[in-house]
Symmetry: C2
Subunit: 349 residues, 2 copies
């Protein structure tokens, strides 16, 4: 079984505290002893027992990532995965392990957030989902536990107390509108999802506001408040072909996946993209390159937001290491602007 500092102490003929100090690079130990002990530790493939260590340092060097990834939500999942990769990468670099979990246990209904915190399994929490319950938030606040929300802004009632790093959705919607108008499009079929998350609402607001400020009135009937999914997009187009009569462009503020569904629908109805109808998506899903035509879209600054959020969380966590009785964290809030990715699915009128 595992080698302990006691074993090393015996071999080196010193006390275990000296071993502990040496391996933790304390300056309170002679260089010579330190090196000798390190050498022995290395020869024996010694590693600290994480539990024993956590038990009295009160730190686990583990971060929890609350991450939905429901099986059904393949489309969102694809977006999340690129976030997760970046995140893990940074945590790893900084020496943290990552426990990934759903917001709550799907079988017992129990909150995983509370569980991880109260059992002292993690030192901080990165939350990548929109629907965290008030009870969990209260628990977090009560314990002054380091938390950063990524991508999804938390519910409105805790928004001002919480730290989050997200995307400027208003700006994204505005960018899409600006681009389409610059190409001469005015009769635009626009898709949003009013249910899932406010992010879509914000995109729509940006979209509407741009046209408003340009003095152009948007036909409300052409703003479809549907559901963000490829399937919905496809079906809607097929079932509402007559709506397409005067439409010159489709603006899918939800996702590139949905745009792919729309594209398929248009194609089945005999419309060519972009010759007959222009199409713009949202997200900049790497797949957009391989649709026919390649999809023009709004790029979500994934790497940036993951990186900013992760680093900020680490800061919070380290502050707390240094000062256990830390007063409240100053909430950190950051919105990163998305950008236009121009490919082949839109044409100038």
């Amino acid at each position: 079984m595992g080698v302990t500092i006691n074993d090393i102490a015996k071999i080196a003929g010193v006390n275990k505290s000296t071993v502990s100090r040496s391996l933790n690079d304390s300056h309170l130990v002679a260089e010579e002893t330190k090196n000798r002990i390190k050498k022995i530790a290395e020869d024996l493939n010694f590693e600290f027992n994480a539990s024993a260590r956590s038990l009295n340092t009160k730190r686990t060097d583990t971060i929890g990532v609350i991450y939905p990834g429901e099986i059904e939500q393949f489309e969102e999942g694809v977006y999340h995965i690129s976030l997760l990769s970046d995140i893990r990468s940074i945590f790893e670099k900084e020496g943290f392990d990552t426990i990934v979990t759903f917001p709550k246990n799907r079988f017992t209904g129990e909150s995983n957030i509370k569980k991880l915190i109260s059992r002292k399994k993690i030192d901080g929490l990165l939350i990548i989902c929109s629907d965290i319950v008030q009870e969990d938030w209260d628990y977090i606040k009560k314990n002054n536990f380091p938390v950063v929300f990524l991508h999804y802004k938390p519910n409105i009632d805790i928004l001002n107390q919480a730290s989050f790093v997200s995307t400027d959705n208003f700006y994204g919607g505005r960018t899409a509108a600006e681009y389409l108008l610059s190409l001469g499009h005015k009769n635009i079929l626009c898709f949003v999802d009013m249910v899932k998350n406010i992010e879509y609402v914000e995109r729509l607001e940006g979209y509407m506001s741009y046209f408003r400020s340009a003095g152009i009135s948007v036909d409300e009937n052409l703003v479809i408040k549907g559901e963000s999914s490829a399937e919905y997009g496809y079906k809607f187009i097929i079932e509402n072909r007559k709506m397409l009569k005067d439409v010159t462009a489709v603006c899918v503020l939800c996702s590139d996946f949905m745009a792919m569904g729309v594209l398929k629908g248009l194609s089945e109805l005999g419309y060519r993209v972009p010759e007959d109808i222009s199409l713009i998506g949202y997200d900049d899903n790497p797949l957009g390159i391989y649709t026919i035509p390649a999809l023009t879209t709004i790029h979500q600054p994934r790497e940036e937001i993951s990186s900013i959020a992760t680093k900020q969380l680490i800061k919070f966590v380290r502050n707390k290491y240094e000062d256990e009785e830390l007063e409240e964290f100053e909430p950190f809030k950051k919105l990163v602007k998305p950008t236009l990715v121009e490919r082949k699915s839109c044409r100038r009128l």
Copy 2:
């Protein structure tokens, strides 16, 4: 800060061992006392300190998932994500937390496998990647640590010692061949990747063997040993258009993503799918429904393999809980057969 069993003991006026016993549902404690103590614990929102517990039970109730998900490998990532979701779900149901990590630290180069095991942060390991190093494997064996490989079969030299749950790739390749031949296709351009993993080789073997047993010779020049990616597929088609002259079908044994690249290439060259050329992919990526035409493909039994592998690992782990000095695990090996998903991208000749 956190409530401990000592606090509860004081309140209840009993010894902390009685509290421990009660909360662990020992039969050595009177029902009445037990209930009284449980009540107090609940009122106080008590949760065990995981580190303290692990320190003497030698179990962490945490499983490690070795999971590549390189940022660059978006395409593989999409496949992995559905695995990960299923896996987490089952672990959660069984009361395990999940630490997700790369095979090795990308910055220090250090092995995360060794690290997690030797620091005693996990009780078992699920490995979803192909390239585990011999040193790690030796370490696992030496410690008789519970490990199951998922999807990727481990390297040939440890194959017979290791437990794995994977897909019958030979059968998958065979299924594709059988289907295409049943539609009358014989001049088939076939893509495989000989570099990444043997799984592609196995698929090719199944494919070749089917034609061989049907007495049909496969033109070796039409078997492209390239790289599994949408980009490669696209470029290959564009740059090798003359190869397509007599070809009636393209069989992409690598992935649906790559098939999408091929589809785009064909489309740009003016070929219609399936009217001019049939196309079959591999994986059954949910996206295949939204390509134009919907992609016929070979379904990877994702849910099945995740579920089998995960449950088997849990069995191993629990066996070890019960018998610390367990002799070696009998390796568990399981291959699940993929199935054909017929959509719209192939036609009868």
